[in-house]
Symmetry: C2
Subunit: 194 residues, 2 copies
Amino acid sequence: MSNQTKDKILETATRLFYFQGFHGTGLNQIISESGSPKGSLYHYFPEGKEQLAEEAIVLSKRRIGAVIQHYMNEFVDVGAALNAHILAMADLFDVENGLEEHSYTMMPFGLLAAESAFMNERLRKVCGDTYKYWESIYYTKLIANGFSDEAAVTLSKAVSAMIEGAVTLSLSQRSNEPLLNISKVIPALLAQYK
Amino acid sequence: MSNQTKDKILETATRLFYFQGFHGTGLNQIISESGSPKGSLYHYFPEGKEQLAEEAIVLSKRRIGAVIQHYMNEFVDVGAALNAHILAMADLFDVENGLEEHSYTMMPFGLLAAESAFMNERLRKVCGDTYKYWESIYYTKLIANGFSDEAAVTLSKAVSAMIEGAVTLSLSQRSNEPLLNISKVIPALLAQYK
């Protein structure tokens, strides 16, 4: 058994958790879709589904964090950077062709966050910390753009809430309009605090 | 078997779906917590869990819609109305005492929306329509406050996304700070469009 096996199990679990949620995904499906023997799963993830979910959340924290950081680095202006980030998410909602499997790195973190909110304190905490981490990336960029500490705190949290909500609405309405809409609204909001 | 039995089953199912999600809630738990015989459940909800979920979503659509409308009626100014609505939600997040069971009428709709997004097209549609209905209440109030049609469309969708995201973040971080934060941000946003 190699690290490749571990990675494959974790990738499969992460994808399934995003599309089906924690409760909607069974260990047997993870085993069969990853093509790994049951023994490997318990070897690498002795705590089973909860451990897999925690590692999936941490993986998403890093990956989505890297995507956010990429857009923050690409533009000097925080408005332009947020715009590019949100439009990239909107592009993934291709209604005609359905969501591509590769796009799950941008999927709604909200499903795992909402599922764990009352049901699993350990996962709830990891999800809560993940949102704070993403907010810290927006915060740092706002500070670099000359916003005051108070404005950067307020705006980074508001941007985080807007994006999270817009992703959920876009998925639920099968339309990227909610995401496109907040990409229009955020520059107006930033202007108010500059 | 009376309508009271039907209502009791639906209330129990709605509460459980909010706290545990669709996949995390089994019919047996609904039956046992509602104190109703299995036969009643299938008598009133012949399609089982899917039908219960659909009726729970429609119930929430009306109830939460009535709460939103209540705040829109209470204040002439749309900013004041939204503020009161969001602060009332923030009040429900009493970290010390935990969420009260009666407060589930304000719970995150996002869990059912996210769960159904890929897994159940029928429920996905009902959730998507629910968000549009709530947005229409904000829209009407914005128009009554003299906002242009274009501004009212943009703002009603943005408010909807912000509230949805802030509720998810508040639950996930066990803090009403994300909700309190958007209550500060929305007046600034409205000012930009007036």
